[in-house]
Amino acid sequence: MVWTAITVAHVVPFIAAGIVLFLVQPLALPVSLASFAHAWVIPELYAQRGANVVRVGGGRFIRAPADAEARSVGLLGDLVGHEARALHAQTGLVLERGRLGAWLVGPAGALLVRPGGRRVACYCVGVNDPALPSGDRIAHLLLALRADEEGFATVANLAFSGARWRVRRRLAPIMRPALDAGVAAARRLDTRAMP
């Protein structure tokens, strides 16, 4: 709700200013359009920040040798079911159903699709060893999440929370099927059991 309020607080004044400017002085149309652009861009920047939590690369990690990567993915595969294993192979994210919603866990963060599938929270969280292979990074987060879901969400930094469509647009195309799977899983969750 706080994030929704923040978005509204950014969007409404810019839209209102754009309308008022145009009504007062139609020649100020370019300024009005700039104001509308601000109303659009600011939430998009927040959503980009959210989607970045599952972005791979960017020089944050040291690339692990191929054999270490394969071993880590093998261990990760032992921890999850067939469906999550296949999704990870396709998208790089692991789907994990929890009490708070459906999680999509990546090497340096996780997306939480809230029950109902309309809202997504983006958490920046990881393990402080840049040389770990990506499978191990995910396994670290997955085990921590399974042991204490609410603790995990508390330790992690909330980078963005908002509409699913905003996050989906900003995800790498290869990761979008993971979000779709997370939304499908979140829709099946019982919202009455939600803390």
Partner: protein
């Protein structure tokens, strides 16, 4: 055969293997387990589908005990 593994830069390393009826192997596994805890690792055991538990003592009956590093917000 139970295994104690540590997630590390090699993917993972098997630190100890034991069976409950082999006291020497259990003792060696417990010693290794404590060393890893002292190094700052957390010990995790799967307790069912989608569930895990952090343990402070080596669960001798567990099939797989995984040592992981702490996580932090980025």
């Amino acid at each position: 055969m139970s295994r104690l593994i540590r997630m590390d830069q090699s993917g993972h390393t098997t630190l100890a293997q034991w069976t409950a009826d082999d006291p020497e192997a259990v003792e060696a596994a417990v010693a290794t387990f404590r060393e890893e805890l002292d190094r700052g690792y957390f010990a995790m055991v799967s307790t069912g589908e989608g569930q895990a538990e952090q343990v402070r003592e080596l669960p001798v009956g567990a099939e797989l005990v995984i040592m992981r590093l702490p996580i932090s917000g980025g």
